[in-house]
Amino acid sequence: MLLPRGIRIALRIATGLTLAFIYLPIALIVLYSFNAAKVATWPIGGLTIDWYLKAVDNAGIRNALIGSLEAAIGATIVALVLGTLIAFAVQRYSFFGRQTLAFVVVLPLALPGIVTGIALNSAFRTLGLDFGLLTIIIGHATFCVVVVFNNVVARLRRTARTAEEASMDLGADTFTTFRRITFPAIRTALLAGALLAFALSFDEIIVTNFTAGTGSQTLPLWIFTNYQRPNNLPLVNVAAVFVLVLSIVPVYLASRLTTDPAATGRT
């Protein structure tokens, strides 16, 4: 679109400022994790990697990290299976309630997280389920399904069915066609969905707070219970960086998997 020079320059500046606004706080937390001083004053008091060494040695952080990884992997597996199944059903078949199903899948993201949290909390209590890893996974999977679903549906929509039909015409049965044709076509979408689900689960706190109980820990929960203790401040900073890295790297990888040249070029 042709725009006067002034507007173009103004837009460029606005874009730069917005990006700075988004990324400066994130950069700052990384910087603080190397802060030699124990308080978060500015300017920082020298650089050190001591807190990282201490964090790795800290049993609380280690347990929380393991808990987070277990929860994220569990939730990702459940989301991967359920999200893919729903995506195939919605994209490939027409049945009663199809639109409703697509809506229900998105609901956990559209409703405030606290609602999902408290609803699951009272359900677990009523069913007499022990709060722990299992309940965390159930909670996380509920909102992770949608990211897998979205990725797979988008890929199925873009993939022509002619290859599958050709495969069937050549005598391959449903399973063989899936293994040899359909699965390779959606493989990267599955991987991207899984990575996003992992990231979403790894830094989740709102629902986790309601589904974790006292026995189990995740890294965000550990941060949430320790951020007010002045002694633990440097360790909280390091834990925050752990969460950041382990959620941002999967998202980056997922974005690399799903951006194909056709999607970024102007059409």
Binding site: Y93, S122, I248, P250
Partner: protein
């Protein structure tokens, strides 16, 4: 599907093939198999919980023994509706969600416009990824980062001190700032997608008919971008309504989320928590209905 007699197969393969053939003849069975697990999960684990949550809001906690009384009553709703504090908190939360939504629209529009209509394809790709990364990750970490930034001797106060100013500290303004920061990417992406969908021919037609850039933006682009803005606002609105972490970390003020959280945790009063949590749910349902009428769902 004709069996090919050429290659001899193991019985297991034959059985698989028989199943495949049977499935092929019965599409309903295919759907059934596909949907059994997900429906079981969504209906039992999720919708079931939501239903129970709704039912719980009509129950009561015996103030003496702490046991649940399952006799249906409207007492919780009456308490939420008539207690001054709860009304104030609900109104405050609604106001905050509105302010945050308006703020994110204002900040998101220029960058989304730049991405969709000015940037080269390469730059656009990089920008989209730079917006998506923080959208998906590090929610708690970002709130915590702002807690450090806004603290007494923190970055903001140190930077503003030479100018004779000081930051908002931990306050309502801080909540507004941090919520706007958190949900900004959720607004940028839909607006960007909406602006990108506007056909170039429409814009050319506007300028051919004499519309200057500004007129084209106001009369053509803004109306066409409205559904996208609404789509983004569903997220910013809903996420602000339900957030209890941000107010806890950067203010001393209580919002709906904080009260609900305390009802569940500290007070152990599930029914009252459920009744109060119905406020954001009701607001969101009304909001979703309006948004759907205005075409926001096509822009999601």
């Amino acid at each position: 599907m004709a069996d090919s007699p050429m290659t001899p197969r193991a019985p297991a393969t034959d059985r698989l093939r028989a199943i495949a053939a049977a499935l092929y003849r019965h599409p309903r069975a295919q759907i059934g198999l596909l949907l059994a697990a997900p429906l079981g999960w969504l209906v039992v684990a999720y919708l079931g919980s939501l239903a129970l949550f709704l039912i719980t809001s009509f129950w009561q906690v015996d103030s003496f023994s702490g046991a649940l009384i399952t006799q249906p009553t409207l007492k919780n709703y009456v308490e939420v509706a008539t207690t001054e504090v709860y009304r104030t908190i609900a109104a405050r939360t609604l106001l905050m969600a509105t302010l945050v939504t308006l703020t994110t629209i204002l900040i998101a529009f220029p960058i989304a416009f730049y991405m969709a209509r000015v940037a080269s394809a390469r730059t656009r790709g990089i920008l989209v990824v730079s917006i998506l990364l923080p959208l998906w990750s590090g929610y708690l970490v970002k709130v915590y980062a702002w807690r450090l930034i806004l603290s007494q001797g923190g970055v903001l106060n140190s930077v503003l001190a030479p100018l004779g100013l000081s930051g908002p500290g931990y306050s309502d303004v801080a909540v507004w700032l941090v919520e706007s920061y958190l949900w900004l990417p959720y607004m940028i992406i839909p607006i960007y997608a909406g602006l990108e969908r506007i056909p170039t021919s429409v814009l050319e037609a506007s300028s051919d008919l004499g519309g200057r850039s500004w007129i084209t933006i106001r009369r053509v682009i803004l109306p066409l971008a409205l559904p996208a803005v609404l789509a983004g606002s569903i997220f910013t609105f809903s996420l602000t309504l339900g957030d209890y972490i941000t107010p806890t970390l950067v203010s001393n003020t209580r919002f709906i989320g904080n009260v609900v959280y305390d009802f569940v945790g500290v007070a152990g009063n599930q029914p009252l928590a459920a009744a109060f949590a119905m406020v954001p749910v009701a607001i969101m349902l009304v909001y979703l209905l309006i948004a759907r009428r205005l075409g926001a769902f096509e822009a999601l």
